[in-house]
């Protein structure tokens, strides 16, 4: 039988959850035996080349590109897993929710204490740039998500346990100590 295929992506995330995947240490060798990776920053495959079994999503949706990628993942993956607080509830980026978008832009590009060299007062508006959304959306408000792995980042053991369970079809045993929101 061919190996289950896994795809991963980071939307509005910090790559911390991907780092946590790597944090399974030497078990990474087992993981390579167990699954095949498709679209993922881990192997740098940029486009889906086949249907996948499991998609791991890090980060929520803060712009139109995030929404596009997330929908693409939903289309190509049998099971989607929201990995980490940002994917689950927007996380740190969602701290801007509730603040009008104009205020956010003014702070980021015009008035913020770290703004230098923008004497022309330009707010980036190239049509090539993804549109920023009115707020940051948790992934499950955009597409159907099948499983949620909380944590910031989720403990490596949690990701490992969940992945193995999904791949083998065994029951997900998630011990108390590894399911944490921070």
């Amino acid at each position: 039988m061919s190996k289950p295929i896994v795809a991963t992506t980071s939307l509005a995330g910090c790559f911390g959850c991907h780092m946590s995947v790597l944090d399974i240490d030497e078990k990474i060798l087992e993981l390579i035996e167990l699954v095949e990776f498709n679209k993922s920053p881990i192997d740098d495959i940029k486009k889906f080349t086949k249907k996948c079994d499991i998609g791991l999503i890090e980060g929520g949706c803060c712009n139109s590109e995030n929404v596009h990628v997330l929908k693409e993942f939903r289309e190509h993956c049998r099971i989607l897993v929201a990995v980490g607080e940002c994917a689950i509830m927007g996380g740190l980026p969602a701290m801007r929710n509730g603040i009008p978008i104009e205020e956010c832009f003014n702070e980021a590009y015009l008035n913020g204490p770290t703004v230098v060299g923008n004497d022309a007062g330009i707010i980036p508006n190239d049509p090539e740039l993804p549109m920023i959304l009115d707020r940051v959306y948790p992934c499950h408000e955009i597409v159907k998500i099948d499983y949620f792995l909380p944590g910031c980042p989720p403990r490596a053991d949690l990701i490992w346990e969940a992945l193995v369970a999904l791949v083998t079809g065994d029951e997900m045993k998630l011990p108390y100590e590894v399911v944490k929101f921070d």
Partner: protein, 237 residues
């Protein structure tokens, strides 16, 4: 009339002093009933409903109901726990609870109950209300994003003449719990610390210190909330 009453919790025979509230009576029998707005030593309010149990088939709050002879109490059933879990989920979406950036994380009762009920994600949509962090008091930070309006601070933290140092401001959906502007000066260093400890969540934080206890050693890192009660030998009367 005997000083003691007999009752059952989930079918197990229990015994407690007459007139005790159900949460306390249960605790003495080694049974944990989750609470949030309740606090030892002050009059129960029965506002959060997390302690809901079924008494002889009827839903009641265990923090406000005195135990009586022959009561049959349902506590750890799938129904009841699902109900409690939904209350926790509502509290999470109603405010802004970003645990990774919260000083109370690991010691927070709301979070600990979410862990106990295995909440992976709230089933309700996040509201992302626009709430302020008030750092105007010299000793504490009052973060309205995390306040669950349990009134524990209002009921427990009082000055020498028994006046509440914390108070409600505004009404209805915009209600806030704030330091009473007239009594704010009475919030001594000790009282500020006590207020932080009394608050079940991270809405009252003492300034200029924090993140003392490393991850892994905090109150609910390794053991679920309530396990101290459950592991206790029941104090048979």
């Amino acid at each position: 009339m005997s000083q003691f009453v007999r009752f059952t919790i989930d079918g197990t025979e229990c015994m407690a002093s007459r007139g005790q509230y159900l949460v306390d009576a249960a605790r003495e029998n080694g049974v944990f009933i989750p609470t949030l707005c309740n606090y030892p030593g002050v009059k129960p309010k029965g506002s959060c409903r997390i302690c809901t149990v079924k008494v002889n088939g009827k839903l009641m709050t265990a923090c406000t109901t005195p135990v009586a002879e022959g009561m049959n109490i349902e506590n750890e059933s799938a129904d009841i726990n699902e109900l409690r879990k939904s209350i926790i989920e509502l509290l999470f979406v109603e405010g802004n609870h970003f645990c990774p950036a919260c000083e109370k994380s690991g010691n927070c009762e709301l979070q600990a109950l979410a862990y106990r009920f295995r909440m992976m994600v709230p089933r309700f949509p996040f509201q992302f209300p626009n709430r302020a962090v008030d750092a105007s008091h010299p000793r504490i930070i009052k973060d309205h994003n995390r306040c669950i309006l349990c009134k524990r601070c209002i009921r427990v933290i009082t000055d020498e003449s028994g006046r509440s140092i914390f108070a409600y401001r505004k009404r209805s959906a915009s209600v806030e719990v704030v330091v009473d502007p007239k009594l704010g000066k009475q919030l001594t260093e000790d009282l500020a610390q006590k207020a932080m400890d009394v608050c079940p969540v991270g809405s009252i934080l003492v300034k200029e210190k924090g993140f003392h206890v490393p991850i892994g050693e905090r109150k609910y890192d390794k053991v679920p909330i309530g396990s101290d009660i459950e592991n206790m030998q029941s104090t048979k009367i």
